[in-house]
């Protein structure tokens, strides 16, 4: 009789625990609702990330290397002082080949003083020796298959549904794997927060209907930004990739970037 009672008691407790486990998801939803109420973010409320697919196009023939984009990015995003850039400009100088070398061009020189923020010093190669020279603006390539997301051990970085690759800085442990993994060198470890940082496509701007700071400030419209899910029949971005032959950086890596370049040279890496 005594053992029977114990069994009944144990089963009753078991039932209670099971019922508790079943109510947990409800409790979690309630917790989320309460958090949403009290932790006000001030962000655009009607922005739905599943209804956008952002894309950036860059026309290399239009970049004049003024560095306003790199400077604007630093100001807009509070990027730490020093050699830390979310977007930057590289200068490519391809000299003429040595006579009789049997080559089409000499060895390419690439430089990027201060991310191109304050312009570029005089060319190290005399003007009459230059075959081609141009500027290439760089930023996060918005890969569809991002190597940086794949390597994150804590799941702090992710591909947002709207195409931006973002970092949850509350969960980033600053291990730096993603910085090693990014084939485009678009990430850095912030000396201030000790977490990885990268271009967010000015997420706080695009969710409010503004253009990213670099696109806003570019004086020659070398950068074009748009939404692939925009229902309008003729958007500047659509016009751009329909009228230009575009390519991506390092296509052999299979990252499928959504930053498209027009007018690139084969030397650009």
């Amino acid at each position: 009789m005594k053992t029977q009672c114990n069994r009944r008691g144990a089963l009753a407790r078991l039932g209670g625990v099971l019922a508790g486990a079943l109510t947990l998801p409800i409790a979690r939803q309630a917790k989320a609702a309460v958090q949403k109420l009290f932790v006000s973010s001030g962000a655009q409320r009607d922005y739905d990330p599943t209804k956008h697919k952002w894309l950036m196009c860059i026309d290399v023939n239009k970049c004049i290397g003024c560095g306003l984009c790199a400077e604007a990015c630093k100001k807009e995003n509070g990027v730490p002082e020093g050699p830390f850039y979310r977007t930057w400009i590289e200068r490519y100088i391809i000299p003429k080949p040595k006579p009789g070398s049997g080559r089409t061009r000499g060895e390419t020189k690439v430089d990027c003083p201060n991310g191109g923020m304050h312009g570029f010093p005089e060319s190290p190669i005399a003007e009459d020796q230059i075959e081609h020279s141009f500027f290439v603006p760089k930023l996060c390539n918005l890969c569809a298959h991002s190597p940086c997301v794949q390597v994150c051990p804590v799941g702090a970085t992710f591909d947002a549904p709207d195409g931006a690759v973002l970092i949850d800085s509350k969960y980033c442990i600053g291990c730096g794997f993603c910085i090693q993994a990014c084939p485009y060198g678009c990430r850095f470890l912030s000396p201030v927060t000790k977490t990885a940082e990268k271009c967010t496509l000015c997420y706080h701007r695009i969710t409010r209907g503004l253009k990213p700071a670099c696109v806003e400030i570019c004086p020659t419209q070398a950068r074009i930004f748009g939404d692939l899910k925009d229902p309008a029949p003729e958007t500047p971005i659509r016009k751009f990739y329909e009228q230009n032959r575009v390519q991506v950086l390092k296509p052999h890596l299979g990252t499928e970037p959504r930053v498209l370049y027009a007018g690139l040279d084969k030397e650009v890496r």
Partner: protein, 150 residues
């Protein structure tokens, strides 16, 4: 009633297994962030947190609200692609409160783009400042209508 006829060691084992499973479920419910899985295998609230930052650059549309006359003039000339803040500097404060004047910029700002550089595209108008003129750019050029002279 075969359940109650189970040997006590089996009952203990079942209870222990259940206790482990339940403690896992409880720990998972407490430790998983509330918005985890909203869009994918990450915290959905992170998107809102990243978007919560206040924009620094006001944008051309904000300027258009008061200075549409200047923007119309600008739109007719070669400088039509320029954003106001490219030359006038960050003007969010001025956009929010017109009493705060935006930062004034000097002629050195013209050179930032127009100084001759072999890396710049050929279509772009460039000058070698030392061979050009030593005075102020605005003596001969109107920044808002670069095709006209004052």
């Amino acid at each position: 009633m075969s359940l109650f006829k189970m040997p006590p060691q089996v009952v203990r084992l079942v209870l222990l297994t259940l206790a482990i499973v339940v403690s896992y479920l409880v720990a998972r419910a407490i430790l998983t962030p509330a918005s985890f899985g909203q869009y994918g295998w990450y915290r959905g609230a992170a998107l809102e947190e990243i978007a919560a930052r206040t924009p620094v650059y006001a944008g051309k549309q904000a300027c258009d609200e008061c200075h549409s006359d200047i923007l119309r003039k600008l739109g007719k000339g070669e400088h039509r692609t320029l954003s106001c803040e490219a030359c006038h500097g960050v003007s969010r404060e001025h956009a929010d409160n017109p009493d705060i004047l935006p930062i004034k910029l000097t002629g050195s700002h013209c050179i930032r783009c127009h100084e001759a550089n072999p890396s710049r595209p050929k279509w772009f108008k460039q000058i070698a400042v030392k061979d050009h003129y030593s005075g102020k750019c605005t003596e001969c050029h109107l920044p808002h209508q670069p095709n006209q002279t004052p």
